[in-house]
């Protein structure tokens, strides 16, 4: 029979060093922590929080397009909205958009990066068809790393399978 050992080990040492007396492991394997320079930079460029709806007539504003499970197909409303964004980009060659592909929380992280990328490509292909130059379209996939809604249920999953279209400043 299996015997269950209840051995609770509370390890107090998981603290970052605050005083010099609390030293890291031997110098041959020491770790230099915390890239401090990053803080200033990242603070200025914080990501924008989640997202707006889908407007079919207004170009130039952030949009979100939703997808079915394991699918890249865009519905008619999304298509109309993307075309409106295309018109805006054609009229404003100095502007560009960032497409952010996302998936729901199921599956491996890196495979979901690729699935999010496929959703970006679906949106990109409509923009390209409308004549938008590729240099005005930037694509990144976040896979399941940046859900809009937390939860392990169909409602949350549906809200996370999306592409965010964002007008980048500068």
């Amino acid at each position: 029979m299996l015997r269950y050992l209840r051995l609770k080990t509370v390890l107090l040492a998981g603290l970052l060093c605050v005083l010099a007396a609390c030293a890291p492991p031997p110098s041959a394997n020491s770790i230099r922590g915390e890239r401090a320079s990053l803080d200033a930079q990242t603070h200025q460029m914080r990501p924008t929080p989640a997202f707006a709806g889908t407007s079919t007539t207004v170009g130039g504003q952030a949009q979100t397009y939703y997808f079915d499970y394991d699918d890249n197909a865009l519905n008619a409303q999304a298509m109309a909205s993307i075309k409106a964004q295309a018109q805006y980009l054609l009229a404003n060659p100095g502007k560009h958009v960032r497409l952010e592909g996302n998936t729901d929380s199921r599956g491996s992280r890196e495979y979901n990066i690729a699935l999010g990328w496929r959703r970006d490509q679906a949106v990109q292909s409509i923009l390209l068809q409308e004549g938008v130059p590729p240099r005005q379209i930037i694509m990144v996939s976040y896979g399941k790393e940046r859900p809009a809604v937390s939860g392990d249920n169909a409602a949350a999953w549906a809200k996370n399978r999306r592409v965010n279209l964002i007008y980048e400043v500068g």
Binding site: M1, L2, R3, L5, R6, L7, K8, T9, V10, L11, L12, A13, G14, L15, L16, C17, V18, L19, A20, C22, A23, P24, P25, P26, N29, S30, I31, R32, G33, E34, R35, A36, L38, D39, Q41, T42, M45, P47, P49, R106, G107, S108, R109, E110, Y111, I113, A114, L115, W117, R118, Q121, I138, M139, V140, S141, Y142, E145, R146, S150, E168
Partner: protein, 441 residues
Amino acid sequence: MWPMLLGLSIALSASLAFADLQLTLTQGQPNAQPVAVVPFAGQAVASPLDVDDTQNIAQIIRQDLSSTGQFRIPPLSRWQAWATAPGSVPAAKWRAKGMNDVVWGAVTAEGDQRRVNFSLLSLYQADKKQTQPARWQQQYTVAATQLRALAHQLSDIIYQRLTGVRGNFSTRLAYVLVQKPAGQSLPVYRLQVSDADGANAVTLLKSWWPIMSPAWSPDGQSLAYVSFEGNRAAVYLQNLATAKRQRLSAAQGINGAPAFSPDGRQIALVLSRTGNPKIYLMDLASGHLKQVTFGRSIDTEPAFSPDGQQLVFTSNRGGQPQIYQLALKSGQITRLTFNGNYNAHAQFLPSGSGLVLMHRGQEGFQIAILQLSNHHWTLLSNTGVDESPSVAPNGQMIVYATRMGARNSLAQVALDGRTRLRLPTASGSVREPAWSPFLTH
């Protein structure tokens, strides 16, 4: 170096509280070996030296060995009566208490150094026959601050002598910690490295953007990872001792899934520059890129075999994600998984004889082992939301990410499934663990 480290540390402690990982055994083996670990002289309660539990060698050895599930170690206080002269206790007395082996030692101060004497007494052979007791002893001198590290090394020695297998106690875990600070709408991501037992966590990178896929260099000196700083995916290589990093790849689109070759000279990674996610090999010295998978499928999650001759990877070229193997010399590609319709995140076992991977079965996502010689599958976990397995360098234990309640946390399971541990965090979500190579030589 010290003033700089101090400054960084204070800046950090003023911001967020990071999370400890607390290693907790939930299932051990039924035939665990009994080992007596006696409190070390000089480290007993109310001793003038090192009263802090975090440097208590006997305590750490007990925790380390117990965490394998292979040893049953009574509380240190059981041996209090014999703690003043454990070397004088007759073997018959230890045997009468049911012990197979005994560990004891002493710590004395020499300024800010510590001299540690260590003894391991073996009373039984593996076949349970009584044997002439065999005592192995050693002496060490270390800085007072290095007692915990020494304790892990002693655990390694004991484990190797008692099982014939190298211990994991001086290895490390890398992982990603995600926390939502109070009053903030956005989460903060950290790349962290801790000891294998979760202690001594250090933040390597703190970011407003996601961090993914930490991968250890074979010499244990660097970590490659994916970061989305500035809303762009890029692969970085960061040296642990200096915190210096270089950006290895920032092509348009996907830069992902870095994996080192066993000789440390190449990194496999995923790029989408052809319009499809494909696997490339980058020579680290020259930066030269070579595409090694082709076609219109999604190929991702490359992992080298221990002999460096093969890559396994995840691909949907057959319709659904499955594991394929690429022979690097010939270019031949073979499908490896035919069980279920979703297999991903394969890693070779150190022996090269099998893979640990993420498998979608009846219950959802589970960790599984696939033996390559006979295609035999073993399912190791069962919450349905298990992912990101990584194997310990001695091949005995797997760490993976799972969910406890609303948060991700880590768990460990032995390759035979008989020992299980949890590593819950005090706060936040922990994911994407990567077990370091052996770090001591």
